[in-house]
């Protein structure tokens, strides 16, 4: 079998633990941007998206993979063992490279009122988390409104997110990745354009 597979975390245990901690922090404090590393991502993924994938996915978490990320499919399957599904409704995670995932979220499950934890988490690779459009975030985890700067979200993102936030406690959680940086938008957060 010929393959261009590359290794995962340089230190599998500590790498995944450190990344998990950062994802937790990012979810708990929306708007804060964290830098992570320890992994050489396969194209077309950025380092941050690859690290989050390695940390959160395993054989029990079906993944919907953006067709644009097809080149990374073998790497994800080998290192995480996650079943890659073509049916977004059955996935627990979605890895997207483009904003098109946000068009009605491709039918990803928003969970139910009885079991909101069954919703999907979207790992979205964006252009930058340091330049671009400002968004003002409010909600749990923030004393005062926080500003998150993102390049690579659709122009009507605030409206898209309002519809997602309105479903609370149901809804999609979003992890934004760019380069080696991550930020998270849990469904509990309200977003308006800055």
């Amino acid at each position: 079998m010929m393959s261009a597979l590359t290794p995962g975390f340089a230190e599998p245990v500590s790498g995944a633990q450190a990344c998990f901690r950062l994802v937790l922090d990012a979810m708990a404090r929306p708007g804060q941007v964290h830098a992570l590393g320890g992994v050489a991502a396969p194209a077309p993924l950025c380092d941050a998206a690859a690290a989050v994938v390695l940390t959160l996915l395993d054989h029990e978490t079906p993944l919907w993979l953006d067709p644009e990320a097809e080149a990374a499919k073998a790497w994800i399957a080998f290192h995480t063992g996650a079943p890659i599904t073509v049916d977004p409704a059955r996935s627990m995670f979605a890895l997207a490279l483009s904003q098109s995932v946000m068009e009605s979220w491709h039918g990803l499950p928003p969970g139910t009122d009885e079991a909101p934890e069954t919703s999907a988490t979207v790992i979205l690779q964006v252009v930058s988390l340091t330049t671009g459009t400002d968004f003002v975030l409010e909600g749990p985890g923030m004393r005062a409104p926080e500003t998150l700067t993102v390049d690579g979200l659709p122009p009507d993102f605030a409206a898209i997110w309002r519809r997602n936030h309105a479903q609370y406690p149901r809804g999609i959680d979003l992890i934004l990745c760019a380069g080696n940086q991550i930020a998270a938008l849990p469904r509990s957060v309200a977003v308006r354009k800055g």
């Binding site: 079998m1 010929m2 393959s3 597979l5 590359t6 995962g8």
Partner: protein, 152 residues
């Protein structure tokens, strides 16, 4: 002849032989077969547990016998060939060497030499050990003539 056997079956055979081979033996034989090429470790070697299951009862329902430790490793040669190995116990070096030989066996240029110098000697050695153990066990076998007679 070997071409008619599916590659999966042939690979299962050599992977089974490699999984039982000791690290020192593998290293020595590999050096005789041209040595190890440059490679990257993709995963491991890392230890873990696997559940050993058997069939119990007349219905053949699976039965969890217990867990055993295994070490697994995956390597990629610079040529792009990927080799995997799972070995019993906690022996990282053994798993890495077995994965390396598995990758080499997929290389058409080296497969023949590695088969002759590494796989074949190991297979012969393992077969001899199996025969010896079977012989020792057979010599302690007790024949219950009385019971056999009663049954007929």
């Amino acid at each position: 002849m070997t071409d008619r056997v599916p590659v999966e079956t042939r690979r299962q055979r050599w992977m089974a032989i490699l999984a039982r081979a000791p690290a020192e033996g593998l290293m020595t034989l590999l050096n005789e077969a041209g040595g190890a090429p440059e490679y990257t470790v993709l995963r491991g070697p890392e230890g873990g547990l696997v559940m050993v299951r058997g069939r119990a009862g007349g219905g053949g329902a699976p039965f969890n016998l217990g867990e055993m430790t295994v070490t697994r490793c995956t390597v990629r040669l610079d040529s792009g060939l990927v080799g995997h190995a799972y070995v019993a116990g906690r022996e990282p070096r053994r798993a890495e060497l077995a994965a390396l030989v598995d990758a080499l066996m997929q290389d058409p240029e080296r497969a023949e030499t590695v088969e002759a110098r590494v796989i074949a000697p190991l297979e012969a050695c393992q077969a001899a050990r199996r025969t010896e153990r079977a012989g020792k066990a057979a010599s302690t076998r007790v024949q219950f003539f009385a019971m056999q007679t009663m049954r007929t």
